[in-house]
């Protein structure tokens, strides 16, 4: 089949950027979306045009490196699927697709479809961890974790940090990402000692970055390739309120 692409081309962070039209003839339905972009890039190189820059690595839907907006939807039309796992059989001959990078002030464009997501790392550095010096932990079975809690914790921990939630949110809020980490750790007994300090530090850091606030729209949940539930935001908010009311200044 033949696919028509309109791709955001931007040389670097300061370039204004523009949409450019390309055609990819002979797209096989078995190709992944990124393989189609590979084919386009090989074609561009043959014509001495610079290939489209896009982030990708594992191509198995777990590293969180890939992603762009496809016709206004983060990671494209298939629910619970990263861009690398989206295959061309979900499109039809003659489809016109508009590809844009994640749009959020906290994620400045680096080049074409590549953005800078280091703000996510700074959120984790602010408190998204359990402090345990190497070698100091007790036996793994010394602390029991109810299976239900462990499963809920794993649901939240499945986040791959791709940034689709921010890109899709009209407020460019990082709440789903941040809350997934807060919920993952707060649901476990190991996470209790730093629970309140963690939520305050991370929410505080989000304010320092250029993320917006959450207004419970739910676009994030709809596009999350790991189907993280909005309930993690409720958990975060409850923890944040509690910590804010009862905590003491250090």
């Amino acid at each position: 089949m033949r696919i028509i692409l309109h791709i955001w081309r931007q040389r670097n962070a300061t370039d204004q950027g523009r949409m450019t039209r390309y055609e990819v003839p002979n797209v096989s339905e078995h190709m992944s979306f990124l393989e189609m972009l590979d084919v386009l890039n090989e074609d561009l190189i043959a014509k001495n045009e610079e290939p489209v820059a896009f982030d990708h690595d594992c191509r198995e839907g777990i590293c969180g490196m890939c992603g762009c907006m496809v016709n206004g939807v983060a990671h494209g039309p298939l629910p619970g699927t990263t861009l690398c796992q989206l295959h061309m059989r979900h499109f039809k001959d003659g489809d016109e697709l508009y590809l844009e990078p994640w749009r959020a002030r906290a994620f400045p464009v680096v080049k074409d479809l590549v953005v800078d997501r280091t703000a996510f790392d700074r959120l984790i550095a602010a408190g998204g961890f359990i402090s345990v010096s190497t070698g100091s932990a007790p036996d793994g079975n010394a602390m029991l974790v109810p299976k239900e809690k462990s499963e809920l914790s794993m649901d939240a921990a499945a986040c791959i940090g791709c940034g689709a939630c921010v890109a899709m949110c009209p407020n460019a809020s990082a709440s789903l990402f941040m809350a997934a980490k807060i919920a993952h750790l707060a649901l476990l007994p190991q996470g209790q000692p730093e629970r309140e300090r963690r939520v305050k530090a991370m929410v505080g850091q989000a304010g320092q970055e250029l993320f917006g606030s959450c207004t419970n729209i739910g676009e994030c949940e709809a596009v999350c390739p790991k189907e993280i539930k909005l309930e993690v935001i409720a958990r975060m908010n409850r923890d944040f309120l509690k910590a804010s009311w009862t905590g003491r200044e250090e």
């Binding site: 610079e50 298939l78 190497t134 070698g135 079975n141 299976k147 190991q190």
Partner: protein
């Protein structure tokens, strides 16, 4: 060159403890005077960087991805082994040690493997402490499952995302140290050369992948935790960015490369669908617990699988290995799949696949049980192939998955270049000629959390390092080398893309140095690779400049290194006139077609010294001795 493994002697149970006592320490006040460079942020690199920083060292950590959380450790599905014996099923440190030495086909050091088995216990504790959400039983205790090559249940797991959860644990520990200022993180930065001053590793030259800026970083020691070299085959289960540039350029600065021909092929991957194929996706080995592997009895039988009656199917693993059946180890399952496809009995459009059929299990257990066990894998399969494995059998084919070879290191994980440490898949140390499932995560974390932070003190405490700055002649020379490679790649302005060369190299490697190798085939590969390399440098086309994000340029440098490494890999395979583990030479097999080792002549680690591109490297042998596990032929009949 004399290779000193520095392995302790005496009773194996206390070797590591006694060795640790003999290592020199650095007192806390002095630790902050030292800077350590860690390249790579996966389980080995990330865990190492976090722990070294926690101890008080200044750490500079580098990764080529946009965040340390992306390292390819994240893609490991199955689990991590530990000899906890929580199930009272006869497991012990000694048994894990025994299984690993045997699984590695007697080509690993006993001392290293025993230490690995001991440390496996601490890893689980550490990861639970960090909040890794391992699977639990209803009682709240940790759950385990069994895995290939073992008869006990010692594999800890977090759904099908164990690697992800372990990596996030290490990443979070690393981010904590970044937040404290103890680690300086350099994402989107690639190591392009090793700086050696007075014979010691003192730093690296890097390229900032966004600005293109070439920079030198100096330190008291350099750690490479940069993963394996499976992408030399182009198509593999590795991430697209996985590369051998850091270890290869260190090799060119003097570090020995050991056992490059020990590569692992995973039997259950989704087959290639066309020329555009960019990578191969692994389906967890656990599927073979309930799936039956078969091909049609007759050559060229193109009927849909449902129309082929049972009498006209060949369940070849069950037929040849009645006691292990579909659960034979990875290398055996892979070779047999290749064999039936070579006979023209492969299935699917390309004929390069075999069926993995769940029909009987679904009938026996019900679709809901199968869904509970493998639901996420079935979904992934359907997403990629568009076929529903509940209705039609999966098609699978083997693919390159892991590389046991890597830079040579001693018991302290230090290479033969003083001050250069190598951890995780990047080194050669623990898996011999074949790695058992769920052991890669174990080794990466053992090296990063527990071994390296203990052994590196000894080097720093006992070595007097001269002050060096970036004006040093060795630094200037390394920078000039990096700049000249970049300039050359950009100036060639040839006709073919980087990927086209990488694909061509991959085809040569898979054809002649893949699942089954022959002297003749390896010689063919060795005659083709130099020509391809020469053509690459004459004709590669890299557009754009070096002063910006240029993904073609990044790939070009990596492929240039693969074109050299490939030659060493084939040479090592040709020199090793035996079959062992992942290295199967067709000339050396038992009458039943199983791998035939030659312990008399090849019970050694082959450590190669670089002599120049296109020149024959020098072989150094580290003999292997077995005091506790006695080499025997592996049998799965």
């Amino acid at each position: 060159m004399q290779l000193d493994s520095k392995c302790p002697t005496g009773p194996i149970e206390t070797r590591w403890e006694r060795h640790q006592f003999n290592l020199k320490l650095v007192n806390p006040a002095n630790k902050r005077k030292h800077t350590i460079i860690v390249v790579g942020s996966g389980l080995a690199g990330g865990a190492g960087a976090a722990t070294l920083a926690e101890l008080g060292y200044n750490v500079k950590c580098f990764c080529f991805q946009d965040s340390p959380r992306r390292a390819h450790s994240i893609a490991a599905q199955g689990g991590i082994n530990a000899a906890k014996n929580y199930h009272n099923d006869g497991d012990s440190v000694f048994r894990l040690f025994y299984d690993t030495v045997k699984g590695g086909d007697f080509r690993a050091r006993e001392s290293n493997v025993y230490r690995l088995a001991q440390i496996s216990l601490n890893i689980i504790d550490q990861c639970v402490g960090q909040g890794v959400p391992f699977a639990r039983e209803y009682s709240g205790y940790l759950d385990n499952r069994s895995f290939g090559g073992a008869q006990v249940s010692r594999t800890f797991y977090a759904r099908g995302q164990t690697g992800q959860q372990l990596l996030l644990g290490a990443y979070q520990a690393l981010e904590k140290q970044i937040g404290r200022g103890q680690v300086t993180m350099f994402p989107r930065t690639e190591m392009l050369d090793l700086i050696v001053i007075d014979g010691r590793a003192r730093g690296i030259v890097t390229r900032n992948l966004i600005t293109g800026k070439i920079e030198s970083h100096l330190a008291d020691a350099v750690v490479l935790g940069t993963g394996g070299y499976g992408n030399v085959y182009y198509l593999s289960t590795n991430a697209k960015g996985c590369n051998a540039t850091a270890i290869w350029r260190a090799h060119k600065r003097g570090a020995l490369f050991a056992n490059p021909c020990f590569t692992q092929i995973h039997p259950t991957c989704i087959p290639v669908s066309g020329e555009y194929q960019s990578k191969l996706t692994l389906m967890s080995e656990s599927l073979r617990n309930d799936g039956r592997v078969w091909v049609p009895l007759k050559k060229g039988d193109k009927r849909p699988p449902g129309q082929i009656p049972a009498a006209e199917r060949d369940y070849f693993l069950e037929r040849k290995y009645p006691s292990f059946g579909n659960l034979v180890p990875r290398d055996v399952a892979s070779r047999n799949a290749k064999q039936v496809c070579d006979e023209g009995r492969g299935v699917g459009e390309t004929g390069l696949a075999v069926y993995l059929d769940f029909a009987e299990s679904i009938e026996r257990l019900g679709a809901s049980v199968i869904k509970e066990r493998y639901g996420n894998l079935f979904d992934m399969y359907e997403r990629i192939t568009g076929e529903d494995p509940y209705k039609v059998p999966m098609r699978i084919f083997p693919a390159i998955h892991y590389t046991m070879g890597g830079l040579w290191v001693d018991y302290n994980l230090m290479s033969n270049v003083p001050g250069l440490y190598v951890t995780g898949e990047a080194n050669f140390s623990d898996h011999g000629a074949n790695r058992l499932g769920a052991s890669a995560l174990m080794q990466g974390l053992a090296d990063g959390y527990f071994v390296l932070p203990n052994t590196i003190n000894d080097y720093l405490a006992s070595t007097k390092l001269e002050k060096a700055d970036t004006s040093h002649a060795a630094v200037k020379e390394a920078e000039a080398n990096v700049n000249s490679i970049t300039q050359k790649l950009l100036a060639t302005k040839g006709t073919r893309s980087v990927d086209s060369y990488h694909r061509e190299l991959g085809k040569i490697m898979w054809e002649y140095c893949g699942m089954a190798r022959t002297a003749e085939g390896l010689k063919t590969a060795l005659s083709q690779i130099p020509g391809l390399r020469e053509q690459f440098w004459r004709d590669v086309k890299v557009l754009g400049t070096g002063e910006e994000l240029n993904q073609s340029l990044e790939k070009a440098g990596r492929v240039a290194d693969f074109l050299e490494l490939a030659e060493l890999l084939c040479l090592d395979a040709l020199e090793r006139n035996e079959s062992c583990g992942g290295h199967f030479r067709e000339e050396y097999q038992t009458p039943e077609g199983e791998a035939q080792r030659d312990d008399e002549n090849y019970s050694y680690a082959a450590a190669w010294e670089f002599r120049g591109v296109g020149l024959r490297p020098e072989l150094h042998k580290e003999p292997l001795t077995f005091e506790y596990v006695h080499p025997a032929q592996r049998s799965y009949k």
